[in-house]
Amino acid sequence: PRQAPLSNGHVTLDLDPASGRLARIRTDSADVAVNQTFMWYHGYGSDKNDPWEPQHRPTGAYVFNPVADAIPIQPKDVVILEGPLVKEIRHSFAETWVSQVTRLYTGEPYAEIEWQVGPIPTEDGVAKEVISRFTSDISSNDLFYTDSNGRQMMERQRDRRSSWPLNVTEPVSGNYYPVNSRIYIRDAASQLTVLSDRSQGGASLASGQLELMLHRRTVQDDGFGVGEPLNETAYGAGLVVRGRHWVLLSDPAEGARLHRDLAQRVFMAPQLSFSVAEDTTVEEW
């Protein structure tokens, strides 16, 4: 637990002193209460179901079919590391197969969240679909924005389609959209943008909220043709995925400038290569 905020000069993170979880983000142009946590959806299906009965369609490669609302994963420990260049908040959780590091690099306008999920346990026969959810006091109502395959940002309205009347039968998955590079919510005063390092599913299921699907492990084929559950057993234990989200909070007027600049920097990031220099000095080099 920590009382003092963590800051890099542009972004300040306030932690909840009781839980150590993120409570507030403050930047040069915005100040918003933000909570972020891991959650998981119990995916429909068990190996006793028939995937060919549509009313019992298991969640799988083609369909995201959660049984109910997402279940939060309780935080366990928080460790804070402060250095001259980067400050880190390391969160561990009750489930040891999820963890994350939140970083503030000196002078940068964003917070970086490096998440790690897996191997997702499925010995209980339950498909699990893990998300990172941000809950804020931004009054975004039912609107949110996602990119469309890396092209322009598209406005999405919860429980609505722009060109046909939607009968909402899937309140969660029916509101998921592809996120190839970024998703954001906003109101008149603030914009919360999250950039992803890979294509993920994303949604805003309530005002002020946005979530991204990180990893899935299912127990049954969904009957749409792939013929396998999503269940890679690398090293006999299931896949571990490690990735990053970049979180920007700003005045909406400068949101596009910030996320476009950052997107260029992270999606065409500099490439590293290395050479051994054992037998030389820095002067000779």
Binding site: M268, P270, L272, S273, A277
Partner: protein, 171 residues
């Protein structure tokens, strides 16, 4: 063949909807990965040739930096990191490389020391299934003002004997 085309072809194949969404069978996923790996390796050879024209020694590429693993940086006391900027504008970049030492010094092309920091690699990463790296720290420094479509190199000396991680503390 044009060595860059191998990755172009692999990328084109991986734009099939099964590859984008993950609806392919596992052996097909493995094949997609193999093609991308072959294409990446071929491009790395091409990059090496380009660097040799600029007088740089043969470069290694660390494909497992996503598990904080790199044979060169964790297996040698001195190495050079070359940072290539593919954007047509100058940018800065935070470099993170895994090391086994307890202190490190980074110098730029002028021999000027660049501020750096050692951060312990999270326990969850050290326990990753299949990870064989011995690195326990990541060296962090900022590569500033990388020229458009150009590169800068940094000389890194790592020592196992002097702890300079006093900046880091557990709260």
């Amino acid at each position: 063949p044009n060595r860059v085309d191998i990755l172009r072809n692999a990328m084109a194949i991986n734009q099939h909807h099964d590859a984008v969404t993950g609806t392919e069978k596992q052996p097909v996923a493995d094949d997609y990965v193999m093609r991308l790996s072959e294409g990446t390796e071929s491009c790395q050879q091409a990059v090496n040739d380009a660097f040799s024209l600029a007088g740089l020694p043969k470069q290694s590429f660390c494909n497992q930096l996503n598990t904080s693993s790199c044979d060169v940086t964790e297996g040698h006391d001195q190495f050079v990191v070359t940072v290539y900027n593919p954007l047509p504008r100058a940018v800065g970049h935070w470099v993170r490389v895994p090391v086994t030492g307890l202190s490190a010094t980074v110098a730029d092309g002028d021999g000027t020391v660049v501020e750096s920091q050692l951060s312990p690699i999270p326990e969850e990463v050290l326990r990753l299934p299949g990870r064989t790296s011995t690195a326990t720290y990541e060296l962090v420094f900022r590569a500033d003002d990388l020229p458009p479509l150009g590169f800068r190199s940094y000389f890194v000396s790592v020592s196992a004997s002097i702890a300079v991680s006093q900046h880091m503390h557990k709260a």
